[in-house]
Point group: C2
């Protein structure tokens, strides 16, 4: 164990007896380290099912196990891998476990991992087209492929049969970033429209979303400088299955307009994190159009389902919105991070996000014939994220990807039916995709006599389940009630895992109720 | 080739004759795909030296080569790899080439790629500590190790010998994000301090940086809602080697304060992108302290050099700033993306960035004993980036990492000496690290008689060099003059590559001048 007080100057001496030059990409090392990593992954996938999904470690555990200070001298890569196995893996929450049912699954595939690996090795930084033409072109191509799978209107595509369109897309790290950059574009447009000098009019702009919208939206609004007093969270209820009621939205926007505020942006969600509620995209767009407000659709999770025609209706009206984002890293088997943002008019985005420093100027950018993707995101640098997404689509094809969605939905339906078949439980909201929101119902037993008792019983059930290490289930609150979220879809999951989890839930509930 | 008008509903049929269930993480596929990827990488590193660094492709080339629409049916992974080799690689700008001297190198290593690969496969989403304790703990540990290598004061560390400190860090995707989140924290603090109701006082806040600061800083200010009229770009000149003059900073801040504005944030750069200028960190901090303004140090590139004691003086005074960011993906052999942000008081950051939705609540977060890293970044989701950074430090050790920095600097010195030895050229600013800014001097020949002629000659030299495919050199403008940037450090680079590039530069210049 090292000491935190170690003086770095003591590190400066070269190790004695090592004569050769340091080659961090030495061919033998690259092959050997990566093969060891592949062996690790192979073992990991084989054994992850038997590991506790949620680990039992204490804050600070890793620093107690590993060195507190960096080593001065190099070590064989096997030492690194050994510490990974012995100290890191036991402290992981295993999102790859087939017994993981929490949050949303982070789905994955062999093709995606291979694509991400190659991107890490090529390590290009495609801020401008010229800085790596193939990286930009591949991102554009992958986004256009996905747009077709989603049956998005060609107005969102980079290239259509008629050539380059005004729409386009970019791959970002998170949905939050997609929200932030579109909020900024909408903000700037609204300021210009309302004749504001600089940001003097900012405190008059208002933004809207259902109260079920992910908290990261309200955070993104604050990041972009919107006044907290003008960030509207529209109440929803069981009568709309917790989807945004267009009449309530209209009421809120009109009230603000009447009070001299400028309705600027509406975020509609297709598949909320809490309960998979769906805001009515077309109706929201129609309301927003009355105020010339920007409409963004957050389809982070459920967007992937819309590659199947039977789910596509959830996007009806998308041709009338300004932007839509969805995250293949959630449900399209593409490892983190990969959020696809599409906008109908890229100039509205680049108008707010463009930079043009001397050291990045080049003929291709000057020509106006290329997309410089730095102008559609927060930062400048960017990984070659398009590669993995393309590899997933190229290798598996649309039919397999649809099969994957349908298989997850079918497994969720199996679970839903099991829940409905046990009268101690209730399904709290309609299941739209592969998330089942359920709870021990009030009156299910003495320990859950009232709704409040049932809340406590469900909390206890969750904690008992998660402590077993055999399943990880998360919770939410819907309509004031504590609800368990059972999200199907981890990429190693099969129906028997879902059935086993249900057996565990039943057994644990019985134990609790007795 | 597919058609853009293909109706996705036609994709919905399952492929005939494929009976087995789709297993995206099938053990054989994972091993086979990843081994093919490793073979590709190994071949790529062997052959990248002989490929044109900058490709000769036209906008839209890739869509002309690959399908315009996604395939319906799956294909062997070999087909995907074949298209990667035949269509993607020829359109890449090869950042991994030893003949790449543009921008800053994106350095890399076998250990980093292996770490990133494992992160892609485990695919955890460590938004909260509980969502993957080891991912958060590893990030905290890796940042604390790096802090010690940089000899940062313990006030920036997550854990010190005395236990958990108030400082801490987070790994982000880009420097721009580090700037944005600290700007937002500083903005909110200034608004509170000046008694602003909501964001009504936002138009009175002012921010400051030298005119050599990366353009992304000025963009981040706009994203955070600062008024463009109050974003100050302080002029620099040759007299300070283009570093920020504290006297000029004081003048600007005082003038704003006198005019009723609120000086809020100063960004100091250690190693500017344009010419590697260094702003005096301590003196800037002293000026900013008079106005209680937040000081951020952007050491994206040159921060890595500060792990060597002989470069550490560039950070002198860092104990008096509020935050510092540096990017191991630039010069510390850790593949994209990896930007380390340190803050002295994490509460100032989380106060602006915290969210607490029901579905993420858990005992560990409630206890206050853990860091939930989502509260120090824009988004919620996050890759396990700490793993690759730890693997680099654990495997190579501090001494090797220092050797790597020193070797790059030594090669840059070789190049600088070669330039200085040819009287047709001049080194334009002092070389601080491994970037040499040089140009054909005015009077070097008939084609470069005046400074303006020399500008044109240098532009032509750059274009001729880059067209050969044997080197990629970028440019900037310093003091109004067109200057070539020669950045040493691509991870496959050896001294003979630098010498060959110089021979090419001399030869091309001679051809041009005749």
């Amino acid at each position: 164990m090292g000491s935190l007080d170690t003086n770095p100057t003591a590190f400066s001496a070269f190790p004695a007896g090592e004569g050769e030059t340091f080659q961090p990409l030495n061919a033998d090392d690259v092959r050997s380290y990566l093969h060891k990593a592949v062996d690790f992954i192979s073992d990991y996938y084989k054994s992850v099912e038997s590991m506790p999904v949620l680990p039992n470690v204490k804050p600070g555990y890793l620093q107690d196990e590993l060195r507190a200070s960096p080593p001065t001298y190099s070590a064989p890569f096997d030492v690194t891998m050994k510490e990974l196995r012995s100290s890191v893996v036991p402290g992981m929450t295993h999102w790859a476990s087939p017994n993981f049912f929490a949050f949303f699954p982070s789905t994955n595939s062999a093709a995606a991992i291979a694509g991400d690996l190659i991107a890490s090795a090529m390590n290009t930084v495609g801020f401008t087209w010229q800085a790596s033409p193939a990286a930009t072109e591949m991102e554009v191509l992958a986004l256009d492929w996905l747009a077709q799978m989603l049956n998005l209107p060609t107005s969102f595509m980079n290239r259509t049969g008629e050539g380059r369109g005004t729409g386009g897309g970019v791959i970002l790290g998170t949905t939050s970033e997609a929200m932030l950059v579109t909020l900024v574009a909408a903000r700037d447009a609204a300021l210009r429209r309302s004749g504001s000098d600089g940001v003097a009019g900012l405190h008059r702009l208002a933004v809207y979303a259902a109260d079920q919208t992910h908290s990261t939206f309200f955070k993104a609004c604050r990041l972009a400088g919107f006044d907290p007093a003008n960030i509207r969270s529209i109440p929803t209820g069981a009568e709309t299955d917790y989807g945004l009621d267009p009449a309530r939205l209209l009421e809120a926007m009109q009230a603000d307009a009447d009070a001299g505020l400028v309705p600027t942006y509406v975020c509609a969600t297709v598949g909320t994190t809490s309960s998979n509620a769906v805001d009515p995209v077309g109706a929201v767009a129609d309301v927003a159009a009355r105020f010339a407000a920007w409409v963004h659709v957050d389809a982070a999770y459920a967007g992937s389902a819309c590659i199947c025609p039977e789910f596509r209706h959830h996007l009806d009206g998308v041709e009338r919105v300004d932007s839509i984002s969805m995250s293949p890293h959630k449900w399209l088997m593409t490892c983190l991070d990969c959020t696809c943002l599409y906008v109908r008019d890229t100039h509205r985005l680049t108008g707010s996000l463009e930079t043009n420093p001397e050291y990045l100027k080049n003929h291709a950018s000057d020509s106006g014939e290329v997309t410089d993707l730095k102008d559609m995101q927060v930062g400048v640098g960017r990984r070659f994220r398009g590669l993995k997404l393309w590899m997933v689509m190229r290798t598996y094809g649309v039919a397999k990807l649809q099969e994957h969605i349908r298989s997850d939905v079918a497994m969720a339906k199996v679970f839903e039916d099991l829940v409905r078949g046990d009268d101690r439980f209730e399904v709290v909201v309609p299941r739209n995709f592969a998330l089942v929101c359920f709870r021990i119902r009030a009156g299910a037993g003495a320990a859950a006599a009232t709704e409040e008792d049932a809340d406590e019983a469900n909390r206890e059930l969750m904690e008992r389940l998660n402590k077993t290490g055999k399943a990880y289930v998360a919770h939410t609150v819907v309509g004031g009630r504590f609800v368990l979220r059972f999200a199907v879809g981890s990429s190693l999951q099969e129906e028997h895992h879902v059935r086993s989890a249900w057996e565990l839930i039943k057994k644990t509930t019985t134990e609790m109720m007795n």
